[in-house]
């Protein structure tokens, strides 16, 4: 049983799944959300490089180079938004992010207002 593209794509799919799951269970901490975003992009990168290797082509790797660049830029912006958020609130827990809450949430959900509704960051 030799290692083929399929194995790499499988690893990518598992990472993709783990990152989405991580975003759901860590939805209360912004830093954790950003870390999960990086895992998501890693899954994409593994896919691209594996396919590029399968096609003996270079395009997938070029795509990966660009994804690396852009994700670094995105993280820089994201962290600076988090810093501003922290200065405003003294905390980066999304739990506290209840300024923008649906009036209807309390009607639909029996959970306390704002907490754990799907309208939070998830």
């Amino acid at each position: 049983m030799s290692i083929g593209t399929y194995h790499y794509v499988f690893i990518g799919a598992i990472l993709f799944y783990l990152s989405l799951l991580g975003m759901i269970i860590n939805r209360k901490s912004l830093i954790h959300l950003l870390v999960c975003l990086e895992l998501l992009l890693l899954a994409v990168n593994i896919n691209f490089v594996a396919f590029s290797s399968a096609f003996l082509g270079i395009r997938g790797q070029i795509f990966t180079v660009f994804i690396l660049t852009i994700s670094a830029a995105e993280i820089a912006i994201g962290l600076s938004i988090i810093v501003v958020y922290f200065r405003n609130r003294g905390s980066i827990l999304v739990d506290d992010a209840t300024t923008l809450v649906d009036d209807a949430t309390t009607l639909v959900d029996d959970a306390p207002k704002g907490k754990g509704s799907i309208h939070d960051i998830s």
Binding site: L15, L34, N45
Partner: protein, 210 residues
């Protein structure tokens, strides 16, 4: 089973080792409560992913992974985590709605993995091999270098613009003028002349300068 162990060449062993560590540390990344540990496990994941890329024959990407991610992004993360003095994340409480979302997403990914398992080989028809030992006249880095600045000129420029926007954006967002901080104002310094800053007096004894 025996067939499996017979197939364990060096590169196959490495693949299983790297991917095993990747999955374990990814699980750790999403389940650890302390953000510092989370970022450190992310670094472990990236280093092992770099190992996978070397197995695939993409050395340049592997180096970039280590240099850009471990060297820059992870350090940025740690820097912000330390600077903001962030508490551990609270234990997750999963309510009904969230549970359904999780089941939905895992269902989608599960179906996807299932189809990949069943059909990939039949579909693709291209067998990929680990290309560590393959002899090539042009190295991977050289191949990338040949097209990145020629064929990919426009995307390369746009990537530059994106980095530029990220730079300006982070400065605009995080720069603040604090009250009470004494700064050097060059123009004021340059406007000072001998006339408006120096007084020559000859004070009398016992009176001092008025």
């Amino acid at each position: 089973m025996i067939e499996f162990f017979n197939s364990l060449s060096f590169s196959n062993c490495m693949f299983y080792m790297f991917s095993g560590v990747i999955i374990l540390s990814a699980v750790a990344v999403i389940s650890v409560r302390n953000p510092v540990y989370s970022v450190l496990f992310l670094i472990v994941t990236f280093i092992n992913a770099a190992g996978l890329f070397i197995l695939l024959g993409a050395e340049f990407i592997a180096f970039l992974m280590v240099i850009v991610y471990v060297g820059a992004v992870a350090v940025l993360f740690l820097f912000v985590v330390m600077m903001l003095n962030i508490r551990n994340r609270p234990l997750c409480t999963i309510n009904r709605q969230l549970k359904y979302t999780a089941i939905f997403i895992s269902g989608i990914v599960g179906i996807e993995i299932f189809f990949l398992t069943r059909n990939w080989g039949k579909f693709s028809g291209k067998e990929c091999i680990n290309r560590v030992v393959e002899n090539e006249t042009v190295s991977n880095t050289e191949m990338i270098g040949q097209v990145l600045y020629t064929e990919y000129f426009y995307p390369f420029q746009i990537a530059g613009l994106i980095l530029f926007v990220a730079m300006i954006g982070s400065i605009v967002l995080t720069l603040r003028k604090r009250a009470g901080v004494r700064r050097q104002v060059t123009s004021k310094q340059l406007y000072r002349t001998k006339e408006n800053s120096l007084i020559l007096t000859s004070p009398k004894i016992g009176e001092g300068v008025q």
